[in-house]
Subunit: 246 residues, 2 copies
Amino acid sequence: MTDLTQIEKRDLLYKGKAKEMFTTNDPDIMWVHYMDQVTAFNGKKKVQMAGKGQTNCEISALIFTDLAKHGIENHFIKQLDANNQLVKRVKIIPLETVVRNFASGSFEKRFAVKHLLKFDKPITEFYYKSDELDDPFINDFEVEALKIATEDQMNQIRAIALMVNNRLKEIFDKMAIDLVDFKVEIGIDRDGKLILADEISPDSCRLVDRKTKKSLDKDVFRKGLGELVPVYKELLGRLEKVEGVN
Amino acid sequence: MTDLTQIEKRDLLYKGKAKEMFTTNDPDIMWVHYMDQVTAFNGKKKVQMAGKGQTNCEISALIFTDLAKHGIENHFIKQLDANNQLVKRVKIIPLETVVRNFASGSFEKRFAVKHLLKFDKPITEFYYKSDELDDPFINDFEVEALKIATEDQMNQIRAIALMVNNRLKEIFDKMAIDLVDFKVEIGIDRDGKLILADEISPDSCRLVDRKTKKSLDKDVFRKGLGELVPVYKELLGRLEKVEGVN
Ligand SMILES: Nc1ncnc2c1ncn2[C@@H]1O[C@H](COP(=O)(O)OP(=O)(O)O)[C@@H](O)[C@H]1O
Ligand SMILES: Nc1ncnc2c1ncn2[C@@H]1O[C@H](COP(=O)(O)OP(=O)(O)O)[C@@H](O)[C@H]1O
Ligand SMILES: [Mg+2]
Ligand SMILES: [Mg+2]
């Protein structure tokens, strides 16, 4: 691996809805720039917001560092400055893996169940990551038929997602927050190993304060409940106080 | 079991979109009346059609009889007359199990794949049978969480559905018809055994004539491609000519 102080940003490889991904002078390292932008409903709602990129970048860095300490291998390498970090380049498997501990969002709507119904065991779901198709819900047999992933890979992905869930629940428990659900993306690194990639932030989690019952996540933006960045900053502040995470 | 000649129709237990289910003087036997009605899009499109009930009733009777001969236990007991049959009463597991050999319908739309793309292996899918919820697509973890069925039951259901697929493919092969996809419902009989129930008919299958490429199923109605009953009658005629089925 290149000496990390020598890493230089090269070409913009992909500009997504929340991040820009740049190549670097090391083919195995990507430069991630967290943008001051928030989107919802597959990009149909989009707003620029000062401070949003930085907060997510820092939250994701803290969480990925903690997960690595707890044995969950991931792409995070180094925080560069407020909005930028270095990560291992992976081949993303185009599945958004959702873990649900309580009913909310599309689940609640699809099955008309009580908001925040608690599940006996976490539920996992796959969505096929495709902006054009609107990230359709997909089952294992369809994933295989469309050659998106193998059965073995799906089982590995679920195992990683559930390990992440266990550790995240521990962290948020210490913050008196319920982890309602979250989404992860898994990639294949250059050794062929499946590792956690992308980000874990209030953009990709649903978090509810146990005392106030308030959302501390992108639902604030989706539902127009108020200013988003102060909420994300509050979350970051609380996260930084958790022993072991900081 | 009551002497079948002594069975009497009692109360209407359930009037569905295609059939009326009556109790009888035997608590384990139901009287099914196939109505002259066809619906699509969860009942939003609905038309009365003379001869439709009879054709479906006869097709389903032929297929269930054949499946039983091929070791696939099912609810069918006896054809009474054109529109009526006796079946074993079961507790329906509220899952519509879909088997797909080629892409069509909601699959084709959801994943924007080529019409009639052939899959290497059949795909199975579960839909939660609920008119109010519009039969939402559901995965195994959700089925378990909502206590709709156990993991073991889901595996048994899939095994039955795939056995049905194998035999149906053999039958339709002899008729020069591609079995694109179909839906089954499975119920629990009074011994606690999972058996095939409901109906298998052109209402619940997608069938494409290999030579003419024409649909021989409810897609004729869904897409307004012409008169439905003559198509169903043609199918019945061809089915009756298959050796072993008649
Ligand atoms: N380590 C990685 N290597 C390569 N690609 C990654 C890595 N981590 C995340 N990605 C991908 O980079 C993009 C991140 O930008 P984002 O704004 O989240 O995109 P999107 O709008 O597609 O969600 C996503 O497509 C994500 O799958
Ligand atoms: N053997 C059986 N015992 C009890 N219920 C059955 C059996 N076979 C089918 N059913 C149920 O009877 C109803 C059949 O009527 P149908 O018109 O197909 O209803 P729907 O509009 O709900 O599809 C369905 O709800 C089906 O699940
Ligand atoms: Mg993203
Ligand atoms: Mg029905």
